[in-house]
Amino acid sequence: MSYERRLNVVAALVPLVIGVAAAIMSWNLGVGSLSAPGPGMWPLVVSVAMVITAAVLVLQSRPRGDEERFTKDVVTVAIAAASLIGYAFLFELVGFEVPTIALLVLWLKGLGRESWPVTAVVSVVATAALYLLFITGLGVSLPHIIQL
C-alpha cells in the first residue's frame, strides 16, 4: 500500500471511529420518533451519515493528489501547538504579559531562527501594542499584572 493510500485510509478511519462512538452516545440520549424527535435523533442521523461517508472513503482510498507526506517538520508543528496550550494554561494564572513575551521569543527565536535583536524588539513591542490595544484602548478585561 502506498504512503498516500495509507494516509487516506487513516484519515477516513478516524471520522469512522468517532462517528460510531457518537452514534452510540446519541442512541443513549433517546431517539424518540419522527413525529416527536428526541434529543438523540439528529446527532444519530448525522453520525450515521458520517460513518457511511467515512466507510466509502476507506474503500475508495486511492490517492487523489491532495494528500501530503508528513515529514520531520511535523515536530515544529507539535512544538508550536504545545506552546499554545501552555500559553492558554498560563494566561489567567500569571496574566497575559509574561506568556505573551515567552511565546513570541519561542516562535521567533526557536522556530523562526530570527536574530536576538529582532526577537527582543518584536516581542516587547508586540506585547506592549497588544496591551495598549486591548486593555487601554478597547477596555477589554484581559488578565494582566502591569498597571498603567
Partner: protein, 328 residues
C-alpha cells in the same frame, strides 16, 4: 535550553505579582477593602437586560464604593459558568456576580444537573430586580381571554427556552387548566415574540420588556400577567391569579459573592449598591425595560430563592406534573 530556563525564571518572578482582570482570583487581604477594582460578572452576553442593569450599577457604584468597577461577561449554561467561576474564587469581595433566580429556583426542577451551583456556595449581598412574565397572543387570535385559551382543545405555546420562567409559567398554567398544550421552545425572547407576531404559535409567555411595545402597538394582545398583583406598566391586564389560575412566576436578579465573604466587606458592598441603585442611570434602565425593583437584603434573597423553589415544587407535585417530563 538557555531560553527555557530564562523563561521559567521570568514566569516565576511574575507569578508573584497580582493579576488583574480576566478571571484571576489573586488579590490583597480584606483589610482596607476596596483597594483595587471590583469585578462584576454578568452571566449573559452583552446587551441583554441583566448586562445593561449591571453596567448601570457598576457605573454608579464607583463613587460610593471608592473603587473602579469592571463588568465581565461570562455567559453560559443559564448562569452556571459564571457562578462556578466566581463562587469558586477567593471570598475577598473583588469578584462578585449578578445571578438569576431561575438558576436556583427553576432550573433544578426542569433540568438534570449532577453538579449545580448550590445556595450554600454563595454569600448573598443584595436583591436587584424583578422581571415579570406576560402571556401574549397574536393580535388576530381568536382567544380573547385567558379562559378562552386555557379551555381551547389544542394549544401550541412558545417558550423562551428550556428551564426558563417562560416555560414554567405556561407549564403550570396549562397544567392547572388540564389543557392539551404542547411547548415550542425558542432560543430567547426575540425569536419567541417573532413567532407570536407571525402567528406561528398560539401564545407565549415573555418578559414584559420583550413584548410591551408590540402589545402597545396593537400587534399582540396580552391575556394575563404572571405576577402577584397587576403591573404598573399594563394595569388593564389581569393577573393569572384573578382568572382563577394561581400561577406566580417571575425572574429575579441579585448580587452575590463567594461563600464566606467577610461581614464587613458584604456590608460595605450592600451599602454601596444601595446608593448606586438610587442613581438616575440605573433607574432609567429599570424604566426602559419595565423592570421592577427588588428591595431585599442578603438574607431575604436567600429566603426568597428557597421559598420559590419549594412553591414551584409543591405546585407541580399537587398538579401531578413531572416538570422534567414536561420538556418532552
Amino acid at each position: 535550553m538557555r531560553i527555557g530556563v530564562l523563561l521559567a525564571a521570568v514566569a516565576l518572578a511574575a507569578s508573584a505579582c497580582a493579576v488583574q482582570g480576566g478571571s484571576s482570583d489573586k488579590g490583597a487581604a480584606a483589610s482596607g477593602y476596596p483597594n483595587k477594582p471590583v469585578e462584576f460578572t454578568v452571566p449573559t452576553d452583552p446587551g441583554g437586560s441583566t448586562d445593561l442593569l449591571t453596567r448601570a450599577l457598576a457605573k454608579s457604584i464607583e463613587e460610593p464604593l471608592g473603587a473602579k468597577a469592571v463588568v465581565v461577561n461570562k455567559p453560559g449554561a443559564n448562569g452556571k459558568i459564571a457562578g462556578k467561576d466566581v463562587f469558586g474564587s477567593k471570598p475577598d469581595g473583588y469578584r462578585i456576580a449578578v445571578m438569576p433566580q431561575s438558576l436556583f429556583a427553576i432550573g433544578p426542577l426542569m433540568l438534570d444537573d449532577a453538579d449545580p451551583v448550590k445556595l450554600t456556595d454563595m454569600t448573598f449581598i443584595k436583591g436587584l430586580a424583578v422581571e415579570d412574565y406576560v402571556l401574549v397572543v397574536p393580535a388576530d387570535s381568536k382567544y380573547k381571554t385567558l379562559k378562552d385559551l386555557v379551555s381551547a382543545s389544542d394549544v401550541k405555546y412558545g417558550t423562551t427556552g428550556p428551564g426558563t420562567g417562560s416555560q414554567l409559567s405556561q407549564t403550570l398554567l396549562f397544567g392547572l387548566g388540564k389543557t392539551n398544550a404542547a411547548p415550542v421552545p425558542f432560543d430567547g425572547g426575540a425569536p419567541t415574540v417573532t413567532a407570536v407576531l407571525g402567528g406561528k404559535v398560539d401564545a407565549a409567555s415573555v418578559q414584559i420588556a420583550e413584548g410591551f411595545k408590540q402589545v402597545q402597538a396593537g400587534k399582540m394582545r396580552a391575556l394575563a400577567v404572571f405576577s402577584d398583583k397587576r403591573l404598573e406598566a399594563m394595569p388593564e391586564v389581569p393577573t393569572a391569579k384573578e382568572s382563577g389560575y394561581d400561577v406566580v412566576v417571575d425572574q429575579r436578579r441579585f448580587v452575590a459573592g463567594p461563600a464566606g465573604l467577610p461581614a464587613e466587606v458584604r456590608d460595605k458592598l450592600a451599602a454601596a449598591i444601595d446608593k448606586a441603585i438610587a442613581s438616575p442611570e440605573y433607574n432609567e434602565i429599570l424604566k426602559a425595560n419595565y423592570i421592577g425593583r427588588w428591595d431585599a437584603n442578603g438574607d431575604q434573597v436567600g429566603a426568597q430563592l428557597n421559598e420559590s423553589l419549594k412553591r414551584f415544587e409543591t405546585l407541580a407535585k399537587d398538579l401531578g406534573i413531572d416538570l422534567k417530563a414536561q420538556q418532552q
